[in-house]
Every structure is written in structure tokens, then in C-alpha cells.
């Protein structure tokens, strides 16, 4: 790619774990230079957090996944000399992000009001768990806990199941995305006004925003959304919306007219229902449908449904998906060589610009790997 859109931007990332660093990764992939400012010896706590106990070197594979395409600068913010150097970096930066609990950055003298004195054009992005005020402000901003507190755990699974979390860090991911949107908007404004901005997002507000359809419906009706008793796909949606077992796997059926569906799959029992009762009798309809679909293979049903242009797809796992041309043609994978010479395959940025996919071969940094070079280059410090 000739020029990435964020080329020339300098981002200082004080963030750890996933929410802030996922924002940093997106900015890096879109062309920004992202420098992680990390604590000596330990660094981003995400370096020590592994999933499935997978390690790439001293750091977890998870850390390598989230922090590729970045540099690392170590500084002890409680040490005056180090802090002075960090302040010099801040003078040069366009963006700063952090996801410490409220008050921590202020304590080391890097709160927004201090930082704008150093650099009035900076965009200061702060992530919190629950906002910086209120009774929850010091609670741990951890993904599962936010899912549990925001009502989200009552959207997945069937009505009789326990509240069920999404099996991925949805709060972290969405909050990182909102931060990117806020930062980029503020940079656009800075071009007109010359002024910086404070951008604040929280995991809780991000998850409430995510549930905006459900919450608006809740506020209108005063009734809690209810997961269907069987084959729940979405609490607000009528039958047949959900995933169904066949003799050899599962198929997903989205919004489809009940009569059309009954005809397409030749289900006489389903003919007794129509679209008017597709919500009120959804459990009954889904039960009839589930029984009927369990008699033939996934391919058999999909052929019948697709022949009538009805919205259905087979449920795949990664093993089967990654073998398909529909996946391969995306070229979603990229292989990166770490500084210690190990190859890791991971995903690329999902956004294409001017028809081109964005790949980046730059690996995640070793802790402090770029401290000296950055001191020389950006601070002009003689070594």
C-alpha cells in the first residue's frame, strides 16, 4: 500500500491487557506509529497473561497477537528522570491512551490537565471500567464482570439456562473500537481548530451502547427481553431465528416467513402457523421446526432453503471454514516473524483501503526493545 491513512501519527500507549491495546493495534495497522510505554522488568501485564498456556518467548502468544506492529519504551513513571523523558515524548505525540483505574495517571502527574500543558494539541484517550465517578469507579474493569453487570448475560442461551456470557471479550473489544472512533474524530477536529481533546470511554457504556436495540425496546415496553425456551438466537426475534440440529450437523435460519419456510422444507405441521404468531408462539414453532429438521442432513435442508432464497447457512467450525475458498479468498491470515525468529500466524486488519488489504509484518516488541532508539531519535538524547 502506497500510503496508509494514519501515516505520520505518533501514539503513546500506556494501556495494558486488551481494551486499550486493541485500539492501539487498529491505529498501528492504519498507519500510526504506536509506542507502548511500559514498566521496566514487567511491562504490560498482558505479557504474562496467556490463554491455553501458549507462550511465544517471555511473553504470551496473546500479547504477541494484540501488540504486533508496535514499539516498546520502558520507563518507571515513579522515577523523576524517567518521567521527564516520558514528558518529552508526550510533547512530540499526537495521541496518548491509557486504561488505568481512575486517578492513577493523575497520581504520577500525567492526568489530562497536566498533559495538555505539555502538549495542547494532544488527543488524550482514557478507558475506564465504569466511568470515573460513581460507586463502581474502582471496581475491576474486567470483561466477564462487565457482561454480567450490564444485562448482556441474559441475551444468549435459552430461557431456562443460567445467564450466559459471550465466550469472547466483547466489552474490551467494543470499548477499544469506541476509543478509536473518538480519537480519530478528535484528530479531524484538531485539523480545523488546532486543539487537542480528552476522549473518555468505559467498558460499561460501550456494552450498554452495544445493547441499544434491546434497551430501547425495554424502555418502550417496560418488559425484560426474554430468551426463547428453545433454539434462542436473539431475544427480540421471532421464530425461526436460531440454530437447529440436523442428522449431521447444524444449520442457522435467520428471518424467514413461516409459510415460505414450511413450504420450502415440506413441513405440514408448520403450515398451521403464520407470520402473525411468529413471535407469540415462537417456542411452539421452533419445537416443531427442530423436530422436522432433525430428520435429514444439513446439505439436504440447505439445498431446499437456498433454492427459495431463504436466509440460512450451515454452522461451521474453524477447521471446516478455513478450508473453504470463501475463507481463503479473503486472505485474512498473515505470518509474522518475531524478533527472536519464531513465526506466528495471525489475522490482519479487517479494513481495506482503496481495494487493498492491510498487512503488517512488524512483530510485537520485546520489553524495552526500542527505548534507546526512541531516546536518540525523538528526545535527541546522547547515549
Amino acid at each position: 500500500m502506497s500510503r496508509l491513512p494514519l501515516q505520520g501519527l505518533l501514539v503513546l500507549e500506556f494501556s495494558q491487557y486488551l481494551s486499550g491495546p486493541s485500539a492501539g493495534l487498529r491505529l498501528a495497522d492504519l498507519g500510526a506509529r504506536v509506542i507502548k510505554v511500559e514498566r521496566p522488568q514487567t511491562g504490560d501485564a498482558g505479557r504474562r497473561l496467556s490463554i491455553k498456556n501458549l507462550w511465544t518467548d517471555d511473553s504470551s502468544m496473546l500479547f504477541h497477537t494484540i501488540n504486533r506492529n508496535k514499539e516498546s519504551y520502558t520507563a518507571d513513571l515513579k522515577n523523576a528522570d524517567d518521567l521527564a523523558l516520558v514528558k518529552k515524548l508526550i510533547e512530540k505525540a499526537d495521541v496518548l491512551t491509557h486504561n488505568f483505574r481512575p486517578g492513577i495517571m493523575e497520581k504520577v502527574g500525567l492526568g489530562y490537565s497536566e498533559v495538555i500543558k505539555l502538549n495542547s494539541r494532544i488527543i488524550y484517550g482514557a478507558i475506564s471500567g465504569y466511568g470515573k465517578e460513581g460507586p463502581w469507579k474502582n471496581r475491576p474493569g474486567q470483561d466477564l464482570l462487565l457482561q454480567s453487570m450490564s444485562g448482556l448475560a441474559y441475551t444468549t442461551g435459552n430461557a431456562k439456562d443460567n445467564p450466559m456470557p459471550f465466550g469472547l471479550a466483547i466489552a474490551d473489544n467494543l470499548c477499544g473500537s469506541q476509543l478509536v472512533q473518538g480519537i480519530l474524530s478528535a484528530l479531524i477536529r484538531r485539523h480545523k481548530t488546532g486543539t487537542g481533546a480528552l476522549i473518555e470511554v468505559s467498558l460499561l457504556e460501550s456494552l450498554l451502547d452495544f445493547q441499544f436495540e434491546l434497551l430501547t425496546t425495554y424502555h418502550s415496553s417496560g418488559k425484560l427481553p426474554k430468551r426463547s425456551n428453545v433454539n434462542n438466537g436473539h431475544p427480540l426475534l421471532h421464530a425461526p431465528y436460531g440454530i437447529y440440529a440436523t442428522t449431521d450437523g447444524h444449520i442457522a435460519i435467520a428471518m424467514v416467513d413461516i409459510n415460505q419456510l414450511a413450504k420450502a422444507i415440506g413441513c405440514n405441521e408448520l403450515m398451521a402457523y403464520d407470520q402473525k404468531v411468529a413471535f407469540s408462539l415462537r417456542d411452539e414453532i421452533k419445537t416443531v421446526l427442530a423436530k422436522h429438521l432433525s430428520t435429514q442432513s444439513a446439505a439436504y435442508w440447505l439445498e431446499k432453503l437456498h433454492a427459495k432464497d431463504l436466509w440460512a447457512m450451515e454452522v461451521l467450525d474453524w477447521e471446516r471454514l478455513t478450508k473453504l475458498e470463501a475463507y481463503k479468498c479473503l486472505q485474512m491470515e498473515q505470518t509474522i516473524t518475531t524478533t527472536q525468529g519464531k513465526n506466528i500466524t495471525t489475522t490482519r486488519c479487517p479494513i481495506r483501503i482503496n481495494g487493498e488489504r492491510i498487512f503488517s509484518p512488524k512483530p510485537a516488541p520485546q520489553l524495552g526493545e526500542h527505548t534507546e532508539a526512541i531516546n536518540r531519535e525523538l528526545i535527541g538524547r546522547k547515549v
Binding site: 466511568g131 464482570l145 448475560a153 471479550a169 436473539h234 431475544p235 440454530i243 436466509w311 495471525t346
Partner: protein, 390 residues
């Protein structure tokens, strides 16, 4: 000043993915003009969910399209198309989420639009990208969840593949297209050139799985294994999950099992001193924990766990959440008024700028509500015939 003030977005998109991006841009100050089909409009107007409707239109249409304008046009009518092209000529962003080929047939493909307005950021959301065997298939949220492997991550091991109960693919694709649009607008301030920005729902939902897919790619292509009970994340150790208590539910995130054994006075857990077992024997540990936690109320457990800084929380539904001071402090609810005067409570933009929240009270537009105003703004009105010509 709102950050995107003066930015004009011409939005042809429907349903949720594109419109959710348009909403965020509108929240941050952009003028978002929905171009809708005369007589019908955004199909989402008729997409009823549950049994709740507002003014005969679906609640979700109102939630997604507040703070926008509506311009009704028949793009197959030459005169209407000409007017829309004149709007495009003065716009900063064009967005659509039609299936591949539709904009080409309408004569509004990127090359044509770029010729009209070289500085425009042209953004498109597709289901599966513009190439490959799936390109013409409907880009629908549940179907994308189904094909992307996502349904093998939630719920317990012996359960069926389980979709996430919110339109997560639409929303993520919406955030990605918004990011691409904003990055391209920022670039334009330097290069003075527009861009084509493309996102597909499939790439977006793969990106969401980037951590666990990276495990799969590098760890011998082993598929995720959900825990047998109380699954919270297929790749995480016990106790990660949600547990039933005597009066409700308790969430426990990453935690030290032996410390939990002591705090909860759960003696059988004391034997799990080897941290590797917390993953390998997570089903066993979770079973012990699940039985033990049934004995007391959620608050009683929290009273023991919270002072010790254990990552835990009470599980709330909307009824209990909205009673909490921690929720009310956020002022997350927003009242908007529709053009018919009806008041609707929805959520506001989750981004705060310079300490301020955005609370525009403008509701979703009626179909074609802003035709007159927009024709005025973009100089599309026919000149009145002058007296001299009569």
C-alpha cells in the same frame, strides 16, 4: 464544537451494520442523510422485533436512525438520480451496504462517484467481500455467526453451537467501517484525496476472534473446547464463568483457586495447588465451586470476595441494573422526540469528549421528511419561472 461538525454523510445503507456507523458519525456531529427508496424506505422500518412498535415502525429503526435526516428518492428515476448525484458532489462521505453489483447497476459505483467528487470517502459494507463463492449471499448477522466458527465459543461443551444473542457482527462491522471512514477523512486533510473503504461482515467477525484464531493457527489447529459446565471462555481456566447462588447469580473472572478455597471456605478446592490444573481440571473445579456457591446469597459471597480484591460481580438484568446508582450516574438514557411528537427513551453515544456527553434529542426521521430542506441546502430546487418568460 462537535468533532465532525461540517461533515456530510450520504447514507444509502439499511438494516443495522451501516446505519449503526451512521449513528455514531451523527452523534459526533456529522449531518447524516439517509437516502431511502420512495414509498418504502429503509427495510428496517418494517423489521418488527418482538411485539413492540413505535408509530407503526419497529423500535429498532428508531434506535438506530435517531439524529439523521431522510431524503426519499427513486434511484431508477433519472431526475431523482441526478439530484442525488448533486448531493453526493457536495458530500464528504458516501456509505452503502448493498450486495456487490447493486451500486454499479444504479450508476453509483466508486469510479463514477469519484469522477463526480474526487475527495469523497466511499465506504461499503458487504457480507462476505466482493469476491469468492459467497459474495452474493445475504450478509445477515446470525448466518455470519454460524459460518465464522463463533458459535462454538459460548455455552457449555455438550450444548449445541450457540449464537451470541445480540447482532454482534453488524455492530462490529459498523465500528470497523466508521474507523475506516474517519481514518480516510483524516488522511484527506493531508492529501486532499478521497478513498474507498471496504469492510465485510465476515472479516469483521474473524477480527473479533483474533486472539483465539491465533491460538488455532499456531497450536496444531485444535478447535476450541468449551468447559463442561459454567463456561465463560473456552480458553480460560477455572473459575471463569457465571455461577448460581442461593438467590441469584455470581460472576467469577480470573482468580487464584487456593485463595478462593480459603475465602469461600470451600475445602475440596484446597487440593488444587498446581496452577496448571486450573485449566486442565477446570470442569472438576467448576463443579465443586458450583455446588458450594449454591449455599449462600450472592451478596454474602460478595462480602467475602470483594474486600480481597477478587474479580467478581453480581449478575444483573435490566430491571436490577437500572436501579443501581452506578448505572444512573452514567446518564446513559437519552430521550428523543420523533417528528410526530412521540417521546422515546434510548441510549446515547458512549464516547465523552472534553468531559461532555452528547445528548441530541432528535428522533428518527419520517420517510422523506427532509426532502425539501435538503433540496434547499444543496441547491436542487428548480428555479421559479420568471415573469419575463411567461
Amino acid at each position: 464544537m462537535k468533532p465532525l461538525q461540517d461533515i456530510i454523510v450520504v447514507d444509502f445503507s439499511q438494516f443495522l451494520s451501516g446505519p449503526s456507523a451512521g449513528l455514531r458519525l451523527a452523534d459526533m456531529g456529522a449531518q447524516v442523510i439517509k437516502i431511502e427508496r420512495t414509498g418504502i424506505g429503509d427495510i428496517c422500518r418494517q423489521l418488527y422485533v418482538s411485539n413492540v412498535m413505535i408509530e407503526g415502525e419497529s423500535t429498532i429503526f428508531h434506535a438506530i436512525n435517531r439524529n439523521k435526516q431522510s431524503y426519499a428518492a427513486d434511484l431508477k428515476n433519472a431526475e431523482d438520480l441526478e439530484k442525488v448525484k448533486k448531493i453526493i458532489a457536495q458530500a464528504d462521505v458516501l456509505m452503502h451496504n448493498f450486495r456487490p453489483g447493486v451500486m454499479e447497476r444504479l450508476g453509483l459505483d466508486y469510479e463514477t462517484v469519484k469522477a463526480i467528487n474526487p475527495q469523497i470517502v466511499y465506504a461499503e459494507v458487504s457480507g462476505y467481500g466482493n469476491e469468492g463463492p459467497w459474495k452474493d449471499l445475504p450478509g445477515q448477522d446470525l448466518l455470519l455467526q454460524a459460518v465464522s466458527g463463533l458459535t462454538w465459543l459460548s455455552s457449555n461443551r455438550s450444548d449445541s453451537p450457540t449464537p451470541m444473542g445480540v447482532a454482534v457482527v453488524d455492530i462490529l462491522a459498523g465500528t470497523h467501517i466508521a474507523q475506516g471512514i474517519l481514518a480516510a477523512l483524516l488522511q484527506r486533510t493531508i492529501t486532499n484525496e478521497g478513498s474507498l473503504v471496504q469492510v465485510s461482515m465476515l472479516e469483521s467477525i474473524l477480527d473479533f476472534q483474533f486472539e483465539v484464531l491465533t491460538c488455532f493457527y499456531n497450536d496444531g489447529r485444535e478447535l476450541p473446547v468449551r468447559s463442561e459446565i459454567n463456561n465463560g471462555h473456552a480458553y480460560l481456566s477455572a473459575p471463569y464463568g457465571i455461577y448460581k447462588t442461593a438467590d441469584g447469580y455470581l460472576a467469577l473472572a480470573m482468580g487464584n483457586i487456593t485463595q478462593l478455597a480459603t475465602l469461600l471456605q470451600c475445602h475440596p478446592l484446597r487440593n488444587f495447588t498446581n496452577t496448571a490444573e486450573w485449566f486442565e481440571k477446570r470442569d472438576e473445579i467448576k463443579t465443586i465451586l458450583a455446588n458450594h456457591l449454591l449455599a449462600r446469597d450472592t451478596d454474602a459471597w460478595l462480602a467475602v470476595l470483594e474486600p480481597a480484591d477478587i474479580w467478581c460481580a453480581k449478575v444483573l438484568d435490566y430491571d436490577t441494573l437500572v436501579q443501581e446508582n452506578g448505572y444512573q450516574m452514567l446518564n446513559m438514557e437519552l430521550k428523543v422526540k420523533t417528528s410526530n411528537g412521540l417521546s422515546i427513551t434510548t441510549t446515547r453515544c458512549p464516547i465523552r469528549i472534553d468531559g461532555e456527553i452528547f445528548t441530541s434529542g432528535i428522533g428518527a426521521p419520517l420517510l422523506g421528511e427532509h426532502n425539501e430542506q435538503i433540496e434547499e441546502q444543496f441547491g436542487l430546487k428548480k428555479e421559479p419561472i420568471s415573469d419575463y418568460e411567461v
